[in-house]
Structures are given as C-alpha cells and as structure tokens.
C-alpha cells in the first residue's frame, strides 16, 4: 500500500465522521424567526442628565442599564430585541453632532445575553437628548413589516427640537397598527412628562411614569410582554399524514403543523380502555388581513375510530369558519367518549374498541381559492393540542404514551419536524463508517506486517 492510499482511507473515515457530526448537529441549527414574530427596540436616553442620581444613590444611567439587563434576562432567548441609545458619545456642543448622537448598540435579533449585557454596560451619560432623531432611526431599525414596538426610556424632553418628537411619532405611527411607540418617563418633570405622553399617544402606545429603578424594571417588563403578545404559533413541529392509513402517530402534547388550503392532516393516538381523547386545533392567520380575503374558509376537526368511522356523536367533531375577524384566532375542539366502558362498552358503539384512533384536520378553501391566493400557496400554521383524559391523571405530556414516529412525506418549508430524527440515516452512515474504518484498519495492518 502506498502513502496516498492510506491518506485516502483516512480522508474517507474523516468524511464519514464529518457526515455523522453534521447530521447530529442539524437539528440544533438556528432557524429564522417565523413571519409575524414581534420585534422590540429599546430606545434609551444616555444624555448628560442621566448621570444624575436616581434618588436612591445610583446614577440614572446605571439604573437604566440594570433595568435593561434585567429585562433581557427575563425574555425568551428567541425574542427579537435590539437597543438604540441617544446621547452618550458627543458633548452638548457643538449642537450639530450632539443632535445626531444616536447609535444602535444592539441590532435586532435573537438574544445573546452575554454580548447584550456588555453592550448595555458600555454606554455613558453624556450630551444632548435627540429623541426625535433617535425615533426616526429606531423605526428604520425595526423594518417595515410585522408587529414592531419602540420602548422609549428618557429622563427629559428632546433638547434638539425641531423636529418635534411628537410629530415624528405621529409620522412613524402612520405605518399602520403594527407599529407602536411606548414611553417611560424616568424621574421626569412635568414638561418632559407632557412631551413623552404626547409621543406615546401619537405612537399608539401608552405613557408610564417610573419614579425609581424598581418601577422602571417592572414597567419595562410589562411593556415588553405587551409588545410580545401577538399570536405566535407554538408547539412541537409535526407533520400529519395525508390520510388515515398514513397518519402520524403522536403522543399527548402541543404540536404545530402547516396546512395548505383544501388539504387534510391525520394524526394517530393509541387509546386504552377507559381513556378519553381530547383535541383542539387553531388555525393562525399569517397576516392580519387574511380575514378580509378568506371569510368563507372553513376548518374542521374530527375524531375517527380505529374502524375509520367518524362518529355522529356530539362534540367528537367540530368545524366552522376559521378566520372570522381581523386579529382573532378561534379554536375548534373535539372529545371522544371513554373508550370501551360504560355506554361505550357495547361493541356496536363508536368508541367501544381500544386501539389506534385518529385526529383529522381539514382546511377548506372557498370556491374561488381565496385562502390559497391570500398567501400565494404558503401553508397556514395550525396548532394542535392533544390530551388523553384518564391517563396518569389526565396530564398531557409529550413524554407519556407512545413516542412520536417518523411522519411520511416531506416537511413543509419553515416547519422542521422533530419526528424525523436523523437516527435512521445516522445508523446507516455509522454502519458505512464502520465498514470504511474496517477496510482502513485492515489495510493498515497489512501494511505494517508487510514492513
């Protein structure tokens, strides 16, 4: 054997190992946030007045920094949040540069807490208070789509007018209801309070006083929670099968699937005697104007027996219009009867037999395909909650009951499915890798003996 061959074998083994590592790493790779994910931009005052005492012996700038760090520590890591400061780097004169002193110290994106804290602690109190200038840039930082909130924290009024920050807020708010400006006055006087109230009102938000560091922390949390209260679909990604016989087996828990109009999704749940299946589903409009286009779209949720029968039983099926009003998400629910006991003990009853029951979701478009056209053929997120009453006290949990199995069919774009673990491909690759290593080892042995 020559050295080139040995190198090739080593490379082959390394290739196999790399493939394995890549497969293992794939599920953990970062994903872009779903459309409609709310974004928050904190706009913090770092003007010279923030160096003053907050009344408790701490400079206001430090109290504000503490509050920001506290807030970021409480937000989910996936939150899209950024931080812009105004003032902080230029002296009050000359006025020109001082009134353009605003920088985005933390660009909007998922939280990196360590980096965020470092950035937050880095700015000092200095210079003027260019609120209007900062607001204009903050609006630009947030982009033009999706729910967006600016949370403005200041201890004084804009010292760079014109333009009036209130008028700037009005102009920013004309972008629609998805953009709001909230304002917190931190130890402010009457004049500053009046201006900040005007900004909040013009920006479609609310004004709040924070007289001390603790209140500032609390108000930041309240406003952030409100900023985040959009209907963001949640659940373990799953893909239901296209028919009963290709249903995806699931355990009790909360799931998120994506459905095209005029399609069905099927899931299977194993039920034992005495257990009761409970399921609810909500279709989430990806845009708030979907209700304008698709009022005739209907959804349905059915529990189907092991014999593939949809029982004519009250509340084991439900259906109706899915997008009735703007900004509103309704729900559909279905419940079986206790399997094989009581009134369902007789064999001719629909819920008499333990075994594999099915949950069927259907999304029906209007005859003019309004639902399909509204998104250009993108799937609609649907949340599915499944509970089995009478199983271990009825507490739902994805770890109980049968484990999810690999679904059939491709995964829709943007919805990763943990039910498609890399285990199968991984084992095949490991097998191949072991074979390759065997060949390489054998060849190396042969070469050593030859020498």
């Amino acid at each position: 054997m020559d050295g080139g061959g040995a190198k090739l074998r080593v490379l082959a083994a390394l290739w196999a190992a790399t493939c394995v590592a890549a497969l293992v790493a794939t599920p953990a790779s970062a994903q872009s946030p779903p459309a409609g994910t709310p974004k928050i931009l904190l706009a913090f005052d770092a003007s010279g007045s923030m160096a003053a005492d907050d009344g408790a012996g701490t400079p206001k700038i430090e109290a504000a920094q503490d509050a920001a760090v506290d807030l970021l520590g409480s937000l989910p890591p996936s939150t899209q949040v950024g931080l812009r400061v105004f003032g902080g780097t230029k002296p009050s004169r000359p006025i020109g540069p001082a009134c353009r002193d605003s920088s985005l110290v933390l660009p909007i994106g998922p939280l990196d807490r360590a980096q965020a804290e470092q950035q937050i602690r880095s700015f000092k109190a200095k210079g003027r208070t260019p609120i209007a200038y900062a607001l204009e840039h903050a609006a630009g930082d947030l982009g033009t789509s999706g729910p967006r909130t600016i949370i403005l924290v200041s201890d004084g009024k804009d010292t760079c007018q014109p333009p009036s920050p209130c008028q700037v807020a009005q102009r920013i708010a004309k972008g629609g209801v998805e953009m709001r400006i909230q304002a917190i006055g931190f130890n402010v006087d009457q004049e500053a309070r009046r201006e900040l109230k005007c900004i909040a009102q013009a920006g479609g938000g609310v004004y709040t006083d924070a007289d001390n560091a603790q209140t500032l922390k609390e108000q930041l949390r309240v406003l952030s929670t409100r900023a985040l209260r959009q209907y963001v679909p949640k659940g373990k990604p799953v893909r239901g099968g296209p028919s009963a016989r290709q249903a995806t087996a699931i355990a009790p828990g909360r799931y998120l699937d994506g459905m095209l109009p005029d399609s069905e999704r099927w899931y299977a749940v194993e039920l034992r005697r005495g257990e009761t299946l409970k399921a609810s589903a909500s279709w989430i409009p990806p845009r708030r104007d979907i209700a304008d286009h698709a009022q005739l779209a209907r959804g349905s949720l059915d529990i189907v027996t092991p014999s593939f029968v949809i029982p004519d039983r009250q509340n084991s099926s439900s259906g109706g219009y899915v997008f009735e009003r703007r900004g509103f998400v309704s729900g559909f629910g279905a419940v079986s009867r206790p399997i094989g006991v009581g009134g369902q003990a007789d064999a001719d009853q629909p819920f008499s037999q333990p075994g594999r029951y099915y949950i069927k979701l259907a999304l029906k478009d209007s005859s003019s395909k309004d639902l399909f056209n509204a998104t250009g053929g993108q799937p609609y997120p649907v949340e599915l909650a499944v509970e089995v009453l009478g199983r271990h006290g009825g507490t739902p949990g994805p770890t109980k009951g049968p484990q999810p199995k690999a679904p059939s069919g491709p995964t829709p774009a943007g919805v990763a499915s943990p039910n498609e673990p890399p285990a199968t491909a991984l084992l095949i690759l490991i097998g191949g890798g072991l074979a390759a290593l065997g060949f390489a080892g054998g060849a190396a042995l042969r070469r050593r003996r030859a020498s």
């Binding site: 609310v206 209907y231 509340n315 629910g333 080892g441």
Partner: protein, 271 residues
Amino acid sequence: MRRALGTLAVAAALALPAPALAQSATAKPVVGGGSFNTARLLGPGTYSDTVAAGETVYWKVRLAKGQVLRVKATVDTSQIQTDPLADGYDRGLANLNYFLDIFSPLREQLSEESGGAYDEASARLEGSPDAGAKAGTATGPRVLGFEQILATDYNEDKFPAPGEWYVSLNAADSATFPADVPAELPVELDVEVLGQPQASSADFAKALPGPQKQQPASPDTSSGPERLFATADQPADPSLTLALVAVIALVGGLALGALAIVVLGLGRRRT
C-alpha cells in the same frame, strides 16, 4: 405655518378629556397573553390591562364543576377621536368593534354552539361613540362534570368541562374600516366565578363497567408490540421499517469492517 398647525394639533391631542373609564382603585394591573398558550391565569376580581387596535388579548380562569364564569369588560375609548372633521380622526379606530368571548378548555368558542344554548358566552361591547367607553358582559354555561358530559346523553356540541376556560377581548378593525394608526386602550376586566365548586375527575371512567364478554375482533393494539410488517388489515409503520433497515445497515457495516480486517490481515499472512 405648518409647524404652528402641527403644534396646535399636538396641543389639541393633549387637551383630550381625561379617560372616561376611571380605573378602579382595586383593579389589579395584569398583562394578558397574545394567544391561548400565553393566556394569563386570573381568579375572581377586577383587573386592569390594555388592548390595542387589531389585537386580541387572552386570559384564562380555572373552573370546577358547578361554577359559572361571568366576565365584564370595559374599554376606555376616550382617546379615540370620533368627530370625522376633527384632527386626528381615523375611521378605522373610530369604527373598531370589541368582542368578548369565552372559550371552553377545548379552546372552542362556546357561543358557536349550533343549538344556540351558549349564546351569552360572547358579547359585543356597546357604548355611544361619544361616551368614551364601551362595555359588555359574557357569561359562560355552568360547568358540567366530566361524568355528566362523557357518560350521559349530553347533547350540546361543546365541552363545558372543568379546567382552564379562556376569555378573549378582540379589538377588531375591518377591511371596510382598516385602522391606519395604532392605539392602545385601557381595559377593566371584572371576573366573577359563581357557584360552589364540586369535585369531578376525568378518571371517573375507571369505575365504569367494561364489556361483559371478551370482544372477538380488533385486538387491543395499545398493549401489544408494534408490528414491523403489514398484514392484510393494517399497514406497516414506515418508521419501523426504516429503523429495521438502519439496524441492518449498522450491523452489516460492522460485519463488513470486521471481515475486511480479517481478510486483509490473513491475506498478508498467507503471502
């Protein structure tokens, strides 16, 4: 001149009357969630929150058998300009519709019950445009025990069972009157839970009698092992088949590797 007009407009906005809804001194500030998943749990009491134009806010209340949920919502609309000729008028905001809805633990809108039995579980908030507030009350049905719904001839198509009931407040604009500017409005929520709680558990079914004799057909598949291959009446589970292929590949690869070591090593010895 334009700046002066702008200043006047701002001054006019600030001169709007104080909120018509005087926040109750006992109202506890809360922040509702943006979805069923993030609904804030409330008990009986009075709460203050906000709702934004185009938004739905969710709360939830835990109810037991025998109890009735009654919720009154009052939205302070005083900051919304209702005079079409006045500065700051936005027809979308002026025409917002406010809906208060109660949902069962199955997240189903109870007022959608086909027989109309639970119509009072939803309310449209009413109030004169110039009154500065709109209010409405939604009342859910009495909570039934699991045994009353699941083991009887209960005949409604909703599930008023014990558990967490959801309440939502929706400030809806429309395609006809889209809201072009944002607004966040104060809300006061009065939550009442009427009636004495009674015990009820979904485990009641354990005490129900099973079949009198063994069923000859359809074996209980939940307790038996999964089948790897299809039979006439049940398709194979594709994931199990794939797993089998994977295991075979793994073992095969291992065997092949071992074989390679043996063959290549022996080959050298023979030479």
